[in-house]
Symmetry: C2
Subunit: 282 residues, 2 copies
């Protein structure tokens, strides 16, 4: 955690640039961070994503993502000096916190933002060589996607596949909630929603649909059966309201349920992923 | 879930009151819902809390909390008619969504708010008669407190105790994230932080501190030992950054760890509570 990579001779960087005007076009990467539809458009058009907070910025850069620029309150300069020094071509904009709030549309608690280049780091085929995968269907809440990836990474799962409609793991909220696990845990986007259960089966996975369906088997029983004969496992996770689609539920090898107290809503998908990754871990 | 209580003759209620002025004093319960320190003061002074969304409002009222007033966009009137009819003395303020946003300081996605009277529903002594308790130390994030209570309720735990510094389960965010589990799961506030481990022991609980300490025992091993000799169990949960205090960790009967992949942040406290409640469930 304290290993920030090899020390290399750092090329000189120009001094940080103070900015006092919230309309300054150099801040365009950072506008209206809470406006989901604007951000989706802006980030895909320009191929960027936003990391928030010193720790998460550091993890993005250490994972090899290239910064476009940094937007910092002055007090964050010393703590991030090594990161900034490693990227002399990425401008550092220094602003008052009030200006940051005007630009981004919210109070940036941690006072440090970075804009980084998006990259496709893994393919679906890469992921299919793992032995423990979480597969996220239509979870559209960024907080939930970030939390599922964090749980999977913490509990030793090897990667995640996301259906075409699942929320973006590189969206600011996903990144933040994941504490940067979206950078360290390999993930890839499926092109073909309908074919996913078959694809996983052909790659040798036992697919376990997490569901509340009546014919589902108690997760503890599923875990025992899987332990009895070690095999590749993919957990299929659906959206909180409607759960998994019929296609994925019916297409899975096993339907597993986490027993719930009657009259209580099911666990949220992130909590369910923690339980399932723990119980079905390799 | 569709049982909204017995049908009783509903006394006539006066028509809903349209309000067009965001400074109208009748909206005082609903001001600046995102301003945590203002809300803490306002809610404790007036003994109120806020429920958000049709489902959560309904659950609060069904659990016996008495509404002070409702603040609704007009389109929510039909869906909540039975709830409103049951409380003719609680005024119903009907506003445009833009006005609701002005008053509350954010976009009220679900278009329905209620202000309800706070009540102490359970004592610490009540809770000590249970056999499965979660005990929350200094978790100050409302989202986490709400999620822990939801997980505990869903996984069949009987109640929660909260240390004096833990976040308020009736704060709007806690209520919302819990999906109303804060109304159905009994909980109470501890007066004495330092004495909690002893109090639990005297009440017959085996206290299990969830920790990353080096001398902690694998949670799976702890679960096996507890299953071998059925007993009352209390899980002690600490704040995400620093974890449990030394006093609670050292004072617990057992220190348990959820094994994590090296280099990854621990699970967030809500995810950890889901795993622990699942694994140590009675």
């Amino acid at each position: 955690m304290s290993d920030h990579g090899p020390v290399s001779p750092q090329p000189a960087r120009s001094a940080p640039t103070p900015i006092h005007d919230s309309d300054d076009p150099r801040l365009a990467d950072y506008v209206r961070l809470r406006d989901t539809s604007l951000r989706r458009h802006l980030e895909s058009t320009h191929g960027l994503f936003i990391a928030e907070g010193e720790k998460v910025i550091r993890r993005a850069v250490e994972a090899g993502y290239r910064p476009r620029s940094f937007l910092l309150a002055e007090r964050w300069l010393p703590g991030l000096a090594d990161v900034l020094g490693g990227w002399p071509e990425a401008p550092v904009y220094v602003v008052e916190e009030a200006l940051a709030e005007q630009v981004t549309g919210f109070h940036v608690h941690r006072g440090a933002l970075a804009s980084l280049h998006r990259e496709v780091r893994h393919t679906v085929d890469d992921l299919l060589t793992s032995t423990r995968l979480v597969v996220i269907e239509d979870v559209v809440d960024h907080t939930n996607v970030g939390a599922v990836l964090r749980n999977a990474a913490a509990l030793g799962w090897e990667g995640a596949l996301l259906a075409p409609r699942a929320a973006d793991p590189l969206y600011r909220r996903s990144v933040k909630v994941s504490m940067g696990a979206v950078f360290s845990l390999p993930w890839a986007r499926l092109d073909d929603w309908a074919g996913a259960p078959d694809l996983l089966r052909r790659a040798g996975f036992t697919t376990v649909a997490l569901t509340l369906a009546d014919d589902a088997v108690d997760l503890a029983v599923v875990a025992e059966r899987l332990r009895a004969r070690p095999q590749k496992v993919a957990i299929l996770l659906g959206t909180e309201g409607a759960g998994l689609s019929h296609r994925w539920t019916a297409g899975a090898d096993v339907r597993a349920v986490i027993p719930m107290r009657a009259g209580i809503d099911s666990l949220n998908v992130a909590a369910a992923s923690a339980v399932a990754c723990y119980v079905l871990g390799g």
